[in-house]
Symmetry: D2
């Protein structure tokens, strides 16, 4: 099974690495060539264009920052969409909108290709440690065929049905869960700090109560107010909250907490925090409470 | 160390039971006598009034539904406050306001008594399984003296300082964390259900991501829309959110997510859901999205 | 100056009537022909297609329910866009997104045509009474040329610059102001009603304080809970709030109150209220407070 | 009818002046004596204590900053409560909580006195121009007796029933309406400013649409970002929003918009804006959007 992998960013690079390490025959494309070259040592081939990569592949994997990037790779000059052979399977792992996923499904179908949506949960360090969770949806047959590839990239694959948009919806809802947790932590830390208790001490209690590595990791970062280097940039987080609300709007689900987190993130990006880690959103409650930043 | 235990509700009864099982000399008072009588078999004595219980005690533990109940027990007819001997320690384990806790501290101090705030995290089943987390604050000396009693009632005791209000603030912030989680789950379940995915399937993913028993337990209940019998009644949850916002208002911390959860709970109580489990608040997002109740 | 007028809905019909009454040479197109025929008696000509209408016009006015309708009229079969002569001016009076307006401007420009955005404030009765306020933006020259037409349709025209999107932004912000007022009235009415005061009595006070016909008209409707026949349908109001938030998102302005009103409307549409007057959104606060509907 | 007037702040001073100008026999008390002395020239007598003022009065008017101030005047050393003769009428014009008003009613009743709640709408300049609106509630008989006094202080008196708390609820709901308007203006100004339109130009449109002097006055101030000298201080506005939410909480009315405005104000006070005019709350939307302050 020949696999084209497009997108070697913070997430894509370690994911492609997992495939290569697992012995798959991988051809790589990345907009900036330098990143791709680094992979040649480990036996991966490098394509000069998305089309070149896709033309030789049974499976095309894309892992890019946003819809626009996916669109460019598929439809731009020397794009992958028309190059991918019939019966080829496109595994879209980027976080994209429900709408976009739906359109992709239709366009691949017109070409006799298949589309599997397989967004992931986890940050770059999780990708490098093969600790990603992958949520996949799409036709039963093509999904079964790409399943070994997915298994090679994460600690678990969760299949949620035959309609790709289900996987995208689940990914967005999952990000909403994390956004909500960050807001809750931010408010709680502000409350206890104003009462005289260090955030770290409250976090210790939260860790015992929730016993969750997600609370532990995010909580540590937020308590320490350490938002750089970013594991996931705020402007990308904002993009995701926008997609959450678009999905909610389209299917008629009011999500006031998602609106709150979105509005927080939007304001933070407007004030120049877009390149920080998205957990900086939890810092806003402290700002509003008049608490000075650590180290200031 | 003679211990008076006042309040044998859903939480108090199993907590008192733990003390008795651990071999402590416990004298019990409960407003409705029947509940207290059930304890005599295991060797506990029963007092006829709060004063009678407190008068014989080195330590007075109160575990009641709200401030009003605590006030009645302390200041009402045959109240415990003036009956507790000097050097006696009042361990207040109910969830009360920061204000109330502050006043209690002062009033005990005037009488040469001590006040330890020691609210708990956990529901009745956790109390019965000795799985409570207890957050304690107060003078170092009296806290050291009552520490064995606290250890006998939970899986862990977390000391947060010498000012009792710190423990109350932490307890309230903790409840806010749970309220936020319930709102987030409610919205996410509504979103995925409208997209065609059962809530249970999304919960399965959340459990893998968060790996938290709190998400697991609340999530199961909310996904199944099973809000009775209540582990913690909504009208008591509303009371707690009110205390969260009062603490936030007093110390100058805007908590928009706490406001959202409070407003949700207030509306649900107004519409007759006060006696259901407080996780019913997560059902409101489904209501607003036009999703019918399970089994309807 | 020959004018093509497309869209004879609740707003468009009385607006077109004003132009005819003012003596302008108007050619009309409407998707359902019956409505257009009614205008022939007053001397208007009726075109069979958007293209036929536009081809004969110096000025093309569109007043339609949403972007999709505008798009169909311009780009659909026998569409108006390519038919409008060079130097022709398209006056878009529908409430559309900032994005859409921007694209329209570019597309007209490519064809040597002009685009003026001129959305209106007011409901059908205001249109019939020539009481609309029209907010207009676009090139100085074409705007000066169509200004008499605009003057003939409203009580006042407010020019806000040469970039069409400014007019759209102002229109959306204005609708946000009205949405906010409805939410505020809904909450206040609920509060005083639960205290024992009829909504009407509170409205009387509000009218003296604000002295605003907008409060008076909306307030009367909301106090009486009379949401049918609709002056402006809720699902269109929801569409507008969606455009408000899209504009806010695109230019980086968090608008939590707009989010609140949007979420309210989204929920109400999900529960089947989309065809009622949009002021029904103010009824939701009463629902949440457990107040029964008038007449129930 | 002898009238004691207590409280010569920004509001009280011009109100007392109106009574004196109307020929009433007024005895004045103010905590800081200097302010009271200024009134002696116009024939008012000055009392040394609240008790001295009340003892000689048929009617006791209080116009103070908050509940605590009212409580001090009534119950503090040489307080007015016990000094007011039986049959005496206390007209409470301060903005106080529903709870406090209820308690006052009961306490006056125990003493054979009467209590009328008569809070006002309007700022100091309106008080000076006799343009206040006064909302009054209380027993029909005592209200009829004090009615001429109220008429002398405002442009209109609106009676809302025999239960004093109704007047307080109406006052709070009215302030909520103003708070909502400020938030809406703040968000709209931010949106249009980021799109390139000056706030003043949008305000001009809003003035034509709403035709309301309240929008005009507040809008001018907010558009100019002129928050000092304060007509009504933010920390007092926050106090009022707190009372709105307390009333809502007590009678079971969720008011998410009031929560939003409260949280905004709380944050602004925490960041040191408490002494500015309360309309500064509308500036926060601009802050969040990254807009710099005028003149910066």
């Amino acid at each position: 099974m020949k696999t084209a992998f497009i997108g070697l960013g913070g997430m894509g690079a370690p994911m492609a690495r997992q495939l290569i390490d697992a012995g798959y025959d991988v051809i790589i494309y990345n907009r900036t060539t330098a990143k791709a070259q680094a992979f040649t040592e480990s036996g991966a081939r490098v394509a000069a264009t998305p089309a070149e990569a896709a033309a030789q592949a049974d499976v095309l994997i894309t892992m890019l920052a946003d819809e626009r990037a996916v669109q460019t790779v598929l439809d731009g000059e020397d794009g992958a969409l028309d190059a991918l052979p019939a019966q080829g399977i496109h595994v879209g792992m980027s976080t994209v909108s429900v709408d976009f996923s739906q359109q992709l499904g239709a366009r691949h179908s017109e070409r006799g290709q298949y589309y599997i949506a397989a967004p992931v949960f986890g940050r770059p360090d999780a990708a490098a440690a093969k600790k990603l969770w992958i949520v996949a949806a799409g036709g039963a047959d093509p999904l079964a065929r790409v399943r070994p590839l997915l298994d090679a990239m994460g600690q678990g694959v969760i299949e949620v049905g035959t309609d790709p948009v289900l996987a995208n919806t689940v990914k967005l809802a999952g990000n909403h869960m994390i956004g909500a947790m960050m807001e809750a932590l931010g408010e709680s830390f502000a409350l206890v700090r104003k009462a005289g208790l260090p955030a770290e001490q409250f976090l210790d209690i939260i860790n015992r109560l929730f016993q969750s590595p997600v609370y532990e990791n995010y909580g540590r970062q937020i308590a320490a107010e350490r938002f750089t280097p970013p594991g996931f940039k705020l402007h990308l987080g904002l993009k995701d909250m926008r997609l959450v609300l678009a999905a909610a709007d389209a299917n008629g689900t009011p999500m006031p907490l998602a609106s709150l987190v979105h509005d927080r993130m939007l304001g933070a990006v407007s004030r120049g925090m877009g390149e920080l880690d998205w957990s900086v959103v939890a810092r806003l409650a402290a700002d509003e409470a008049g608490l000075s930043q650590k180290g200031e």
